[in-house]
């Protein structure tokens, strides 16, 4: 299962996002970087496509436009490899900042999309 622009997929049964690892400084980037590493300036062959497991720690979350049709729970998540991403929480149970979280690929409005949940969910 992949999404339209291939930014995430299942790998060995685990959902991953496709980012970049810099071979020169080991930094992990999401979304993928194409033109050069923001940390060390390396480019070209130093930038390696890598898949990141959707496991991390919840740094923050906020209800965006609550009470409207378009409301959603936005979060900042630090993945295990150090990449920090913004993602939508799908959890129905209470979560707190600092909680461990994991992402799943789901079908939302007929399209694959990622939602993050608490560890028990």
């Amino acid at each position: 299962m992949t999404n339209a622009n291939e930014s995430f997929r299942l790998e060995n049964g685990y959902p991953v996002i496709i980012g970049t690892t810099c071979a020169s400084c080991d930094f992990a980037w999401f979304p993928p970087v194409e033109f050069g590493c923001e940390r060390c300036g390396s480019y070209g062959k130093s930038l390696i496509e890598s898949s990141f497991l959707l496991k991390g720690t919840l740094l923050s979350f906020a209800d965006i436009m609550p009470g409207t049709d378009t409301s959603f729970l936005l979060s900042t998540i630090e993945l295990e490899n150090g990449a920090t991403i913004r993602a939508i929480l799908g959890c129905t149970t209470e979560m707190a900042i600092g909680d461990l979280t994991h992402g799943r690929i789901e079908t939302i409005e007929d399209k694959p999309a990622i939602r993050f949940y608490g560890i028990g969910e």
């Binding site: 930014s7 995430f8 996002i17 999401f30 979304p31 923001e38 940390r39 740094l59 923050s60 979350f61 906020a62 209800d63 965006i64 436009m65 609550p66 009470g67 936005l74 979060s75 900042t76 630090e78 150090g82 990449a83 920090t84 991403i85 913004r86 993602a87 939508i88 707190a96 900042i97 600092g98 999309a113 990622i114």
Partner: protein, 382 residues
């Protein structure tokens, strides 16, 4: 060796002008800008031909709006440029004018800002994306995430957060140039709708239209043009910086603010305790709390309680956002940073009327812009 602005020719702010920040109207930008410029010239007691260079801070007007405006003052052929630096465009135009005078390229320069809001720029939105959200996340979402994180770490309440907006609306109610000129109670500020996380509508700045202009000049020009030496305000530091790579989880806006402000303190010999008035980028209430701490105006985790208990009111130990800040005075983008210099100059001259911070000697102006950039100026009464 590289020099800071304080080690070069002294630069003085000698003229200030504003056109009221307000909701978008039918008035053309040329009219807004000219009103602010003419008012700054009158305030300085000089005329347009005395101005030797001109910088226009604007983010939303498209290519080359400057000459189409200033030609109506009489085409003097001076060098001009538009300055686009997101929310910090007006701060950057002020810095460019200061640099012209400090270097000795000209004796009199003008910085102005004018804008009418339009659709957000795509390049700017790409600045900080780390998301798989699939929909555009507005700045309010970014600051709601910061607010919730800060609240969880520090234990501050929604009332603490709202007290920033209560204070700034109270200040804005005393400012004839503010977009929002109505006092708001704690209950008013906490009233839904919530835009994102804990941020209600009145904790988010209005983006309207407006204009601001500032004249800066050298010592020679002060003498030659008979400018009132009792109203001089000196530029002590001008620092511009862009985002570096911080450790994961760092609050970028605070880290960038901290390093930029402390560079300005170092350059000027001014310490946080010396600062009497601050105009900062309070586009969202949480920002004032974060930046007050990043500026060293109080200890980490202390700002919210100090704001709630009046320490940063006009008349308190340091007046934060006496103009009403972005929250009440408004944030028309291009003019905002120049408008901060106008307010601080007014305060340091002792001409801020009902908003006057008693005995104000030193002022700090701070803007961040998406991208991210940060601009800081320190001004001092001569």
């Amino acid at each position: 060796m590289a020099k800071s602005i304080k080690e070069m020719r002294p630069v003085y702010v000698v003229g200030i002008g504003l056109d009221r920040y307000q909701r978008i109207s039918e008035r053309p930008y040329v009219e807004l800008g000219l009103a602010a410029i003419r008012s700054a010239l009158t305030d300085a007691g000089i005329s347009w031909p005395d101005v030797e260079s001109f910088y226009l801070g604007t983010a939303l007007l498209g290519m080359a709006p400057g000459r189409a405006m200033i030609k109506h003052l009489g085409a003097t052929g001076i060098p001009i440029a538009q300055v686009e630096n997101a929310s910090a465009s007006g701060s950057t135009s002020f810095r460019q004018a200061c640099i012209d005078v400090a270097c000795g390229l000209v004796d009199v320069s003008m910085a102005a800002g004018v804008d009418k809001p339009g659709p957000p720029l795509k390049a700017a939105n790409a600045g900080r994306s780390r998301d798989i959200v699939g929909k555009r996340t507005a700045p309010v979402a970014h600051f709601a995430l910061l607010a919730n994180r800060y609240m969880a770490q520090s234990g501050i309440t929604s009332e603490h957060l709202a007290s920033v907006a209560v204070k700034n609306h109270r200040n804005g109610a005393l400012n004839p140039f503010a977009q929002r000129q109505k006092e708001r109670s704690m209950a008013d500020v906490l009233e839904p709708p919530f835009m994102a996380g804990p941020l209600t509508r009145l904790q988010c700045c209005p983006v309207g239209e407006g204009a601001a202009a500032v004249v800066v000049c050298s010592e020679e020009a002060v003498e030659r043009l008979n400018i009132d030496s009792n109203r001089l305000v000196k530029v002590m530091a001008s620092v511009s910086a862009s985002e570096q790579l911080y450790p994961p989880g760092t609050d970028i806006d605070s880290a960038l603010t901290r390093s930029t402000v402390f560079k300005a303190y170092d350059q000027s010999g001014i310490s946080p305790d010396d600062v009497d008035v601050v105009e900062l980028h309070d586009a969202f209430s949480i920002e004032e709390i974060l930046y007050a701490e990043a500026m060293g105006l109080c200890g980490e985790g202390e700002a919210a309680e100090l704001i709630a208990t009046g320490a940063f009111d006009i008349g308190g130990r340091c007046a934060l956002s006496p103009s009403g800040g972005l929250l009440a005075m408004g944030h028309p983008i291009g003019p905002t940073g120049t408008g901060q210099i106008v307010e601080i100059t007014r305060q340091l001259r002792g001409e801020a009327s009902l908003r006057q911070q008693p005995n104000a000697k030193v002022g700090l102006a701070h803007m961040v812009g998406i991208g991210a950039v940060c601009l800081v100026h320190l001004l001092q009464k001569v």
